[in-house]
Amino acid sequence: MTIKKVFNSCDEAVADIFDGATVMVGGFGSYGGLPINLIVALSKQGAKALTIIANMGGVGYELSHRIKPGGYQDSGILFENGQVRKFIGSVPALGGMPPTSPLERLYNEGRVEIETVPQGTLAERLRCGAGGLGGFYTPVGVGTIVEEGKEKKVIDGREYILELPLTADFALIKAHKADAVGNLVYRQTARCFNPVMAMAAKITIVEVDELVPTGRLDPEVIITPHIYVNRIVEVPA
């Protein structure tokens, strides 16, 4: 069997992401688990009119450089570049911060659409997309703006709303180690949204700290089985 999953560079791995594609971006906030090298590669590649599914919209250039001088920290770069048509996630922008994030600025100018999703609902919609389910009923969002336009159902006396699955053309994720067939292990809280996004996209592209020969990972601790991983790039930390 000669499926080649290992790519030499992030640029090569994201080359075919097309205009109008839906792209999941793993991670949580601005640290830990964010596939920053793939994000930078996508920003250079230049695909436009993307739908981005991610937990956070990113803090953007100003704030990320204050946090980490010289280093671009998060997916804000894709918004800053004007590559995004729609964002789906739980924290488009941080209310406790000044409104300096690129996504918030674009939204206020009417140039990007936002679908705000409670974080647990986001995770579960991804899992439904990954697992072939048509959706799920959740009590989260009942009585708030989240329920607007959604089917409601009372189950055992409690009110629920119907939430639908999410899938994507591509997922960009970060893992700690991969073997050559694509089994993945993560490190600490850098796991977060990465495994569930890996399972929910048609093409999953992972950047890893270390690529090891197949057989080297303990089968008992593999978190993402290799069938969910299509492309691997080693980017030593």
Binding site: F28, G29, S30, Y31, G32, G33, N55, G57, G89, S90, V91, P92, A93, L94, G95, G96, P99, S101, L103, E104, Y107, N108, I114, T116, P118, Q119, G120, T121, L122, A123, E124, L126, R127, T138, P139, V140, G141, V142, G143, T144, I145, V146, Y186, R187, Q188, T189, A190, R191, C192, F193, N194, P195, V196, I223
Partner: protein, 220 residues
């Protein structure tokens, strides 16, 4: 101006609610301070919705590891028994009622325990993060907040005017002036900041507050 409690002291009061062996999630901002303030005689298991259970105090500069963070993006320290999982599993714990206590910040809380803690006028692009899931799923919701807005406007109100996080979810409100319990009969004032009177606190509270029979100064 009379003294109000500072954020550290509010968090210290909130941490006194953590019973021995409880599973606790700390929301964004002031609640995060509670991680360093657990009463010495108790074991508390902190859960973080980015996929971690059983972490320790906030990390010092030397200890910082950005792949070991809480849900407020703050580096924390591991403890023996700390474990990691993905976001979907983290929210199974939260939605499924496996979290004993969540401490959340708030813009407004209503007299029936409605919570508004994620959106505010003029900022339509902000999001609720995991707040809705936590407010609905945790067995007990404690709010830590400043009692009033910067210009002394009320934040403990009859009805929330800011976007709701969840209805009828808050059990206990801890502010820089008071500790209030949400009951079937409205807000009961359990504890009051040193030097403050009930009418003074009521004047800064839109909702009616009933002093408890055993009302006392805030105990730390």
């Amino acid at each position: 101006m009379k003294d109000r409690l500072d954020e550290q002291t509010i968090a210290l009061r909130a941490a006194r609610e953590f019973t021995d062996g409880s599973v606790v999630n700390l929301g964004y901002g002031m609640p995060g301070l509670c991680a360093n303030l657990i009463p010495g005689d108790r074991t508390v298991f902190f859960q973080s919705e980015n996929g971690m259970l059983g972490y320790g105090s906030l990390a010092t500069d030397e200890e910082k590891d950005y792949e070991l963070i809480n849900a407020s993006d703050q580096p924390v320290t591991p403890l023996p028994g700390t474990c990691f999982f993905d976001s979907a599993a983290a929210f199974d714990m939260i939605r499924g009622g496996h979290i004993d206590i969540v401490v959340l910040g708030a813009y407004q809380v209503s007299e029936t325990g409605d919570l508004a803690n994620w959106g505010r006028p003029g900022r339509p692009a902000t999001g609720m993060g995991g707040g809705m899931d936590l407010a609905v799923g945790a067995k007990k919701v404690i709010v830590t907040m400043l009692h009033t807005t910067k210009d002394d406007g009320p934040r403990i109100v009859r009805n929330c005017t800011y976007p709701l996080t969840a209805r009828r979810c808050v059990s206990l409100i801890i502010t820089d002036l008071a500790v209030m319990e949400v009951t079937e009969n409205g807000l009961v004032l359990r504890e009051i900041a040193p030097g403050w009177t009930v009418p003074e606190v009521q004047a800064l509270t839109e909702a009616d507050i009933k002093p408890a029979a055993d009302l006392k100064e805030i105990e730390l």
